[in-house]
């Protein structure tokens, strides 16, 4: 199809989508309205299970099964990227060169790296109390490690991330989510049911299984993101092809 015909086709379809979308928006409940029946039930359910952060309660208690699927998507992506970006027969891996870094950058990285790790762990651990949780904290943890790359060089980052350990941690965390679901099945009669003591509201032990699910997801997201980024960074830094498409390398 020529670009012109494609653009024309798009404009016609966009007009149709636009008209129908606008018409359906007029039927939606008005923006900012007070009626949120699902939201109110979710808040009541979260308070009944003594989880202060309702979003965490929705993700790891009410919709835990969906989160299991979401976690599996993440796991499969790491697997898929590992497969797609593996070393081909005509490619070679060589050690990255050491680079000079400004002393101030190095100092800032050295100071911020431990702070960021602590913040990441805090966000994962307090997922049931304050905004945050396994997904957000996991990303912060993964980011923390890459401060090593920014502040020093790729060789330091490689020492900071034992990829084999992280691969195993990723799989174990994904498996532990299911294992906890099966534990719920054994103890309470339903998959992923909240069976642990609920604890005191607004304490770090509150929410029953929510903190455990948060921790599992935190480990999985952190290790998954690090492994994922490792494969992309390897492509840019360490892998060179011997094939024909190497003109700009």
């Amino acid at each position: 199809m020529s670009p012109r015909a494609r653009l024309l086709l798009f404009l016609v379809s966009a007009a149709v989508i636009g008209v129908y979308f606008t018409l359906s928006c007029r039927e939606l409940p008005s923006f900012g309205g007070a009626s949120h029946p699902y939201g109110e039930r979710a808040v009541a359910a979260a308070l009944a299970h003594r989880t202060a952060n309702v979003v965490s309660s929705v993700n790891f208690d009410l919709r835990a099964f969906d989160t299991l699927g979401e976690e599996s998507i993440l796991f499969c992506t790491v697997l898929g990227a590992t497969l797609l970006l593996r070393l081909a027969r005509d490619e070679r891996q060589h050690a990255a060169a050491s680079e000079a870094v400004l002393p101030t950058t190095r100092l800032l990285g050295a100071v911020l790296l431990p702070v960021t790790v602590v913040v990441g762990v805090y966000i994962v651990a307090h997922g049931q109390l304050s905004p945050g949780g396994g997904f957000q904290g996991g990303v912060v943890l993964a980011t923390a490690l890459h401060l090593g790359y920014v502040a020093a060089d790729y060789r330091v980052l490689e020492r900071l991330r034992p990829l084999v350990v992280l691969d195993i941690a990723d799989s174990l965390a994904a498996a532990s989510f299911t294992a906890m679901g099966v534990a719920g099945l054994a103890a309470g009669g339903a998959f992923l049911k909240n069976v642990l003591p609920l604890g005191t509201f607004n304490k770090i032990t509150s929410g029953g299984m929510v903190p455990l699910f948060n921790a599992a997801v935190g480990v999985e997201v952190a290790s998954g993101v690090i492994v994922l980024l490792a494969h992309f960074l390897d492509q840019a830094v360490e892998v060179t092809g011997t094939g024909t498409q190497e003109e700009e390398a």
């Binding site: 939201g39 308070l47 970006l85 992309f232």
Partner: protein, 115 residues
């Protein structure tokens, strides 16, 4: 504000689709897909918004003292973000391989199967 937040979401989606249709670079197309996905965040959060309310976190808020925004759509937006990030990662990995094997990232010049 009426229906404007919902319409903004639709507008973002259409702009992103325009970018996808006219894209001559796969990296650009993946960026457009990410923009299309962000329209769903806008829509979800617009559905969940409630006037004069605060975040659905009760660590420093007495339950029942203030209305809170809809936590369900916030959780859905979180799922959305994770799925979006993973899809982007996989597509970028595919693009890297395409570039290596075919020497181009222009979808127009990808005409034949190879390898």
């Amino acid at each position: 504000m009426g229906v404007w937040p919902y319409l903004a979401a639709g507008w973002i989606l259409l702009v992103a689709l325009y970018g996808l249709v006219t894209s001559r670079n796969l990296i650009h197309a993946i960026g457009c897909l990410a923009v299309a996905q962000s329209s769903t965040y806008v829509l979800l959060l617009a559905v969940g918004y409630r006037d004069h309310s605060t975040a659905p976190v009760f660590s420093d808020l007495r339950p029942g003292s203030r209305p809170v925004v809809d936590p369900i759509v916030q959780a859905l937006a979180l799922t959305d973000i994770v799925v979006g990030a993973t899809v982007t990662a996989l597509l970028l990995a595919l693009t890297i391989q395409l570039r290596k094997r075919h020497g181009t990232v222009d979808p127009e010049s990808l005409t034949a199967l190879r390898g």
